[in-house]
Assembly symmetry: C2
Homo-oligomer: 264 residues x 2
DNA sequence: GATCATCAGATTGTCGACAAACTTACATTA
DNA sequence: TAATGTAAGTTTGTCGACAATCTGATGATC
C-alpha cells in the first residue's frame, strides 16, 4: 500500500517537516466573515447583498457563496431565499441553549484537562493564566472588546485541552454564538466587572486539580451569563426567525473593515 | 414594529398554517449526497470528480460546490485541493470520539426526555417502540441495511426529544458519522444480533422513567459498539488523513443511484 | 377607503467558459 | 538502474453573464 509513495518511502526523511498548510480561498473568505462577525463589524440581522460583499472582499460571487454555505452550516449565517444573507440573530432561547450546551461540554473539558499529563497541563495553565491577566488589564482599561476577546480565547484554550477536533470545532462555533448573543441582546460589547475574578477562580481550581470545584464555578458563571443576557429585554428578543430581516434598515450599511488581505 | 406585516396582521388567521418549507437547490443536493452516504452509495475515501457528480445529479457545478462546502463543514466530506471530493474515512480514534460524544449527549437527552410532560412522552415512546419493532423484523429477515436504518431513526427520535435544534443537528451529524464508521471499518452493513434487545431494554427504562438505568444501558451499548468497531482492524485503520485518497482505485467508480428526482 | 392587480427594478440562482494548477507518464541523463 | 526533468492531459478554481424570481410601489376597482 505504501509503495505508492515510491520516491519518498525509500528516501531517508531528515528532520520533521510539518505539512504545508495551504488554505483555499473559501477558507480565507469564511475566516474573514467569521472574524468580522466576532469583531462586531457584521451586526446580527443586517441584510447583506452578495455582490456588495463579494466586491468588498475582492472575490467573485462564486467562492463567496461557497463560504456562505459553510457558515450557514455552522449556524452563524442565515440565507433567506433571494434575500442575500444576514448574521443570525440570537434569541433568549438560543442563549439558554448555547450556555446549557457549553456547560455540558466544558465541564467535561475540565475533566479531560485534569486527566492529561502534568507537563501538558502546566503549559496550558500558562496560556489560561495569560488570558486571565489579559482580562484584568482590559478591565482596568475599560476595554470591553479586549475583555471579550480574552474571554473567548480562555475558553478556546480549554477546548484544545479536550483533544478532540470534533469537540474543538463545536466549542469554536458555540463561542462565536455566545458573542452573537451579546450582540443580539446588547448590540455592543459589554463589560462585566466580575468576569476576570470568576475566571481567576476557575483557573485556581484547575491548578489545584479540583475538578468538582471547577465545574461548580463554571456552571455558576454560565448561569450568571445567561441571566445577564435574558434579563435585559431588548428589541432583539421578540424577533422571530421568520421575520428576521424585517427590521433591517433599508439603507445597506457600510460593512466596516472587511478585508481579505492576501486574497488575490 | 409589527405594522410591517400590514396585510396579514389585521386579517383573521384561520386554522394553523405552518410556513411553507421552500428548500433551495443546495439543500436538495446536500440532502441527496447525505442520503447517498448513509445508504452506502458513496463509500468513504473514493475520489469523486465534480463534473461527473454534477452531471449525475442533474445540476451544474456551482450549486454542487456550495453543497460540498456545507457537507464539509459537517465533517462528512473532505475536499483536498484540486482533487475533487471524497467521503471522509473514519479512523478508530474518530469512532471513539464519536461514541464518546454520543454518550455525553444522549444520556442528557434521556434526562430531557423524562422531564417532558407525559402526553408528549407517550407519543415519542410510540415512535421509539415502532423503531425497535422494525429492528426485530429486520433482524429476522437478516436485513442489515434495514436494521441500521431503524437504529439511526431510533436515536433520531431521541434527539428530537431534546427540544434543541442545535443539539438535534449535532446528533444528526454524529449519527451519520456513526454509520460512516461502519462503512470505514467494515465496508458494508453489519448485523449485530443483540441490537434490538439492547434497544428494547433502553425503551423499557424510558417507559419506567428510570433515567439512571437508561444511561447505564446506553453507555454500555455505545461502549460495546466502539469495541466492535475498533476490534476489527482493517485497512482503513492505518490510513492517515494526509494520504486519504491514496488508496482510491484509478477507475472512477459508478456512483450507484444518486438522484435528485425533482431537481430541474 | 381598502384591497387587489400590474409593473418596474433589483438581486439572486444557475450556467458556461477560461486559465491555472496538479497529476501522470515518458524521455533523458548520470 | 534509478533519479530527475519535461510535457501532455485532466480537473479544479474563478469569473462573467443571463434569466427567473422576488420586492416594493403605483394605479385601478369595488
Amino acid at each position: 500500500m505504501s509503495d505508492r509513495r515510491s520516491g519518498l518511502s525509500r528516501t531517508r526523511q531528515v528532520g520533521r517537516l510539518s505539512p504545508v498548510r495551504r488554505t483555499s480561498t473559501v477558507d480565507l473568505i469564511a475566516d474573514a466573515i467569521r472574524g468580522a462577525i466576532v469583531d462586531g463589524d457584521l451586526p446580527p440581522g443586517v441584510a447583506l447583498g452578495e455582490a456588495e460583499l463579494a466586491f468588498q472582499l475582492g472575490v467573485s460571487r462564486g467562492p463567496l457563496r461557497e463560504a456562505m454555505q459553510r457558515l450557514c452550516a455552522e449556524g452563524l449565517l442565515v440565507i433567506p431565499r433571494r434575500r442575500g444573507l444576514a448574521v443570525r440573530i440570537m434569541t433568549a432561547d438560543d442563549a439558554r441553549d448555547i450556555h446549557w450546551l457549553r456547560a455540558r461540554i466544558e465541564t467535561e473539558l475540565g475533566h479531560r484537562f485534569l486527566a492529561r499529563p502534568v507537563a501538558e497541563r502546566k503549559e496550558m495553565l500558562r496560556y489560561l493564566s495569560a488570558e486571565v491577566k489579559r482580562m484584568q488589564r482590559a478591565l482596568k482599561a475599560d476595554d470591553a472588546r479586549e475583555l471579550g476577546d480574552a474571554y473567548l480565547d480562555f475558553h478556546r484554550v480549554l477546548a484544545e485541552a479536550g483533544g478532540s477536533a470534533r469537540l474543538e470545532r463545536m466549542m469554536g462555533t458555540l463561542l462565536i454564538e455566545t458573542r452573537l448573543c451579546t450582540f443580539s441582546m446588547y448590540a455592543h460589547f459589554e463589560v462585566h466587572r466580575d468576569l476576570a475574578d470568576e475566571h481567576m477562580a476557575m483557573l485556581g481550581a484547575l491548578e489545584d486539580g479540583d475538578a468538582e470545584l471547577f465545574c461548580r464555578l463554571l456552571e455558576a458563571h454560565l448561569r450568571e451569563e445567561v441571566r445577564r443576557l435574558v434579563a435585559e429585554p431588548t428589541e432583539a428578543e421578540d424577533l422571530e426567525a421568520g421575520r428576521l430581516l424585517a427590521e433591517t434598515p433599508d439603507v445597506p450599511q457600510p460593512l466596516g473593515r472587511l478585508d481579505l488581505s492576501e486574497g488575490v
